[in-house]
């Protein structure tokens, strides 16, 4: 079947100019929008991180008052999570899921467009809080009351922004689930789906299940702030800890929402460059499913210091430790895929290998934190910051970078600059570790997170971390340059630049025609 011939005349109903992007019903255009938006947010939130590290470069208050510093950390967290990582993963889903299952588009193309265009609306609201009286949000991305109830107008704006983000996520997730369930090419049974598609199916399920609970929690915050309710106020019989339960019932699955698609990307890259099929495909599927299941019953490991009954602490400690099992299965399978493969080290592969290595470190520090007596010492220290940056930066973000290098040739039709890509990788991997590894020591020594000043004894490691962070930030400008260069031109990629790849998108031209797989291919 030759689908490029089919698509030739089909650009007729694609408007050009700005309307193409505003009104698009095309999964590739919308995927591009998601990816560009998340790149923008990545740099914005990254700039905030640079400011944070500049303040922490040495003890004492240098650049910012504490209130401003709190705004920086809060907005950095919120925007990275909701503006950078999640939208970029949805961008991958938009581009890749229809291509990988042999569908013509997403199941609900118009809804797809709306899911995207709600993001800038929420982004405008969030960023506008920097300019309102009282300043931006400063209560932490976790939005805990009572602090969150005492803040100014920025807090109401942020609640509505998060509501809009939630609507976008839920609609996007429903779209992805329905696309996967209903639009697969004939012959592609569930257990023949590429791993990336599986991870997104389960991620989308998590999104539909937990975003509404976040909506509940922040609705109650809004009511406590404005309508005189007492959900989180003990004087009225409520309980601020109740917010934490609701928030983390969303929040823990949320961290898996950010890592499962990254697992999918890595599970796609490693077999390609090891030139071997993914080891233990079926166990991979079950591992992802059990991680998703477990993620619903571990949430209170974020709350070990809130005065939970002993039974609760034990329950959440053991369930949290259980997660290490399916996670371990995944790491084992990635390594086993490499075993006796004929491996080559192109940039995507470098990112994927670094992911396996560094994510595992993050998993281990998570395991350390799951131990109640240890966590009681480490809660709200830099150890936690080190943990979640190992899983979120060297985990999600570096998998995303690897995925971008892997699919850029398909998306643009050009090869990226391999030499620069490798330089970007090494800069990123090294700078990342310089930045975040010392934070383990800082945390173990007792340095609290979310403060602009610290005791002298922490000065050395903080200086190292700040220097690493500036290098890490600067390296990402190189990434931006490589991506822009690749979009604008480069050696033609051909249909299949990676000889080890075997998913359906590589049967299409690069870039694929406006409508790919108008007539579904037959999968054997």
């Amino acid at each position: 079947m030759n689908s490029d011939a089919i698509a030739l005349d089909d650009h007729s109903h694609a408007p050009s100019g700005v309307m193409r992007w505003l009104t698009s019903t095309n999964h590739k255009d919308i995927g591009t929008l998601y990816l560009c938006f998340s790149l923008l947010m990545f740099f914005f939130a990254g700039a905030l991180a640079m400011l944070i590290r500049a303040e922490l470069f040495q003890p004492g208050l240098q650049l910012f008052q504490p209130a401003v510093f709190n705004q920086l950390t809060t907005m950095h967290g919120l925007i990275m999570i909701f503006g950078a990582i999640m939208p970029s993963l949805v961008g991958f889903a938009n581009w890749q899921v229809p291509l990988m299952i042999g569908a013509s588009d997403m199941a609900f193309p118009r809804l797809n467009n709306w899911s995207f265009w709600l993001l800038p609306a929420a982004g405008i609201l969030l960023i506008s809080t920097f300019f309102v009286p009282g300043g931006a949000l400063a209560g932490g991305w976790t939005m805990y009351p009572p602090l969150f109830i005492q803040g100014g107008i920025a807090y109401d704006i942020a609640i509505l922004a998060v509501h809009i983000l939630g609507v976008s996520s839920i609609m996007g997730a429903i779209n992805i689930i329905v696309t996967i369930l209903n639009m697969r090419a004939p012959g592609m049974t569930l257990m023949k789906m590429p791993m990336f598609v599986w991870t997104w199916l389960i991620t989308a399920f998590l999104l539909v299940a937990v975003m509404p609970v976040l909506a509940c929690a922040i609705t109650m915050l809004l009511a406590d702030r404005n309508f005189g309710t007492h959900f989180f106020d003990a004087a009225g019989g409520g309980d601020p800890v109740m917010f934490q339960h609701l928030f983390w019932f969303f929040g823990h699955p949320e961290v898996y929402i950010m890592i499962l698609p990254a697992f999918g990307i890595v599970s796609t890259i490693i077999p390609t460059f090891a030139r071997k099929p993914l080891f233990g495909y079926v166990s991979m599927v079950y591992a992802v499913a059990s991680i998703a299941f477990l993620s619903f019953i571990v949430w209170a490991h974020h709350m070990f210091t809130t005065g939970m009954p002993l039974g609760g602490q034990l329950f959440f400690m053991y369930t949290t430790m259980l997660i290490a099992i399916p996670t371990g299965i995944k790491v084992f399978n990635w390594v086993a895929t490499l075993w006796r493969g004929s491996i080559s080290f192109e940039t995507p592969m470098l990112f994927a290998l670094a992911f396996v290595f560094l994510f595992t470190i993050g998993g281990f520090s998570g395991l350390v934190l799951s131990l109640v007596p240890v966590d009681i010492q480490l809660q709200d220290t830099y150890y936690v910051v080190a943990h979640f940056h190992y899983v979120l930066f060297s985990g999600s973000a570096m998998a995303i970078m690897g995925g971008v290098y892997y699919w850029l040739p398909k998306w643009t039709g050009h090869l990226y600059d391999e030499r620069l890509g490798k330089i970007h990788f090494w800069l990123t991997a090294v700078a990342f570790n310089i930045t975040f590894f010392p934070m383990h020591f800082l945390g173990l020594a007792g340095m609290p997170r979310r403060i602009p000043d610290y005791a002298l004894q922490f000065a050395d490691f903080n200086r190292i971390a700040s220097l690493g962070a500036f290098l890490l930030g600067a390296s990402q400008l190189l990434w931006l340059y490589i991506v822009i260069k690749c979009v604008r031109g480069g050696a033609p990629a051909g249909n299949q630049p990676w000889d080890g790849a075997d998913t359906l998108e590589w049967t299409q031209t690069s870039p694929p025609p406006y409508h790919s797989f108008v007539i579904p291919p037959l999968v054997k």
Binding site: M1, N2, A5, I6, L8, P15, M19, R20, L22, T23, T25, S104, D105, P109, R110, W114, W117, L118, A121, L125, I153, D156, I157, L160, V167, I174, V178, L181, N182, M183, V208, A209, P212, V213, A215, C216, A217, T219, M220, A223, N226, F227, G228, T229, H230, F231, D233, A234, A235, G236, G237, G238, D239, M242, H245, L246, F249, H515, V518, I519
Partner: protein, 282 residues
């Protein structure tokens, strides 16, 4: 399958709609609505105006978008696969709504069974406070007289349950090609929905406590309020379905709009049963 012409003639290709203005209009609407709402909350003069503008844009968007879907449906663009997409989509949407209410019910259980007893155990701040439901909390000292379950709420339960029955009766009529039964059933269902909302408003007016009266008032009004809002939405959707029935849009074989709204209505019914048990009776 090489030539473009052949593709155009290919009838069972999944329908991908042309570019559409409505999603971006919807985003502008929500942004305006949210900005207006924040301004209302902070007593700024432009707030109500902005909110009204946002709501108006949203209304235009909904009419435009659903209008487009209805036109596409009537002109036969949706094959069985598209139909299956709509079914799955509705199922997962209702699942997300289930989780939304699950969060509020979870808050109710937590407040009643966990937080309250912990407050009573910790005698430090409020000595002598005992955990008894309903309560306005230890710092408020207001006694709460809850709404009597076996008055209006019980009657409302009957109203919603019968509305479920009339809706099923209407569906029967649609499937068996009896348009009169369809329209009558729908009209009855809508009437029962309106009756329910009316009684609920009356009950709010007569209740001896407000949303400010501690955790009981807060959970009561939030749960019943969101449920009531869903009944309102359902009633509006039923009215649209009734109008479409009058216009003859549905056939015994193809009428997913009806089915989707019916699923939604039954879901709202079930939520009410849970509310009746856990908010009013227990």
């Amino acid at each position: 399958m090489q030539a473009p012409a052949e593709y155009a003639a290919h009838a069972d290709v999944y329908y991908v709609p042309p570019p559409s203005i409505w999603p971006i209009v919807g985003s502008v609407a929500l942004l305006t609505l949210a900005a207006g709402f924040v301004m209302v909350l902070h007593q700024m003069a432009a707030g109500p105006l902005l909110m009204a503008l946002g709501a108006a844009i949203l209304l235009v968007m909904l009419c435009g978008w659903f209008g487009a879907v209805i036109r596409e449906s009537l002109s036969g663009k949706y094959d069985a696969q598209v139909d299956a997409s709509f079914r799955w989509g509705m199922v997962w949407f209702i699942f997300s709504e289930v989780m939304f209410f699950a969060g509020f019910f979870g808050a109710l259980f937590y407040a009643r069974n966990v937080a309250l007893s912990m407050l009573a155990d910790a005698q430090l701040l409020w000595p002598g406070f005992t955990a008894a439901w309903p309560t306005a909390g230890p710092g408020m000292k207001t006694a709460i007289t809850p709404v009597e379950a076996w008055g209006i709420p019980a009657f409302n339960t009957l109203v919603l349950l019968s509305s479920g029955a009339t809706l099923t009766w209407a569906h029967r009529g649609l499937q068996r090609g009896r348009p009169l039964q369809l329209k009558l059933g729908l009209a009855l269902t809508i009437a029962l929905g309106v009756l329910f909302i009316g009684l609920q408003i009356h009950e709010y007016g007569a209740a001896a406590f407000t949303i400010r009266d501690g955790i009981y008032g807060a959970t009561f009004y939030l749960l019943t309020g969101f449920h009531g809002f869903h009944v309102l939405l359902g009633t509006v959707m039923l009215s649209v379905v009734l109008m479409r029935s009058l216009a003859g849009h549905f056939t015994p074989a193809r009428h997913f709009a009806f089915v989707a709204v019916a699923w939604y209505w039954h879901f709202v019914d079930v939520i009410w049963l849970l509310l009746f048990i856990f908010v009013y009776c227990l």
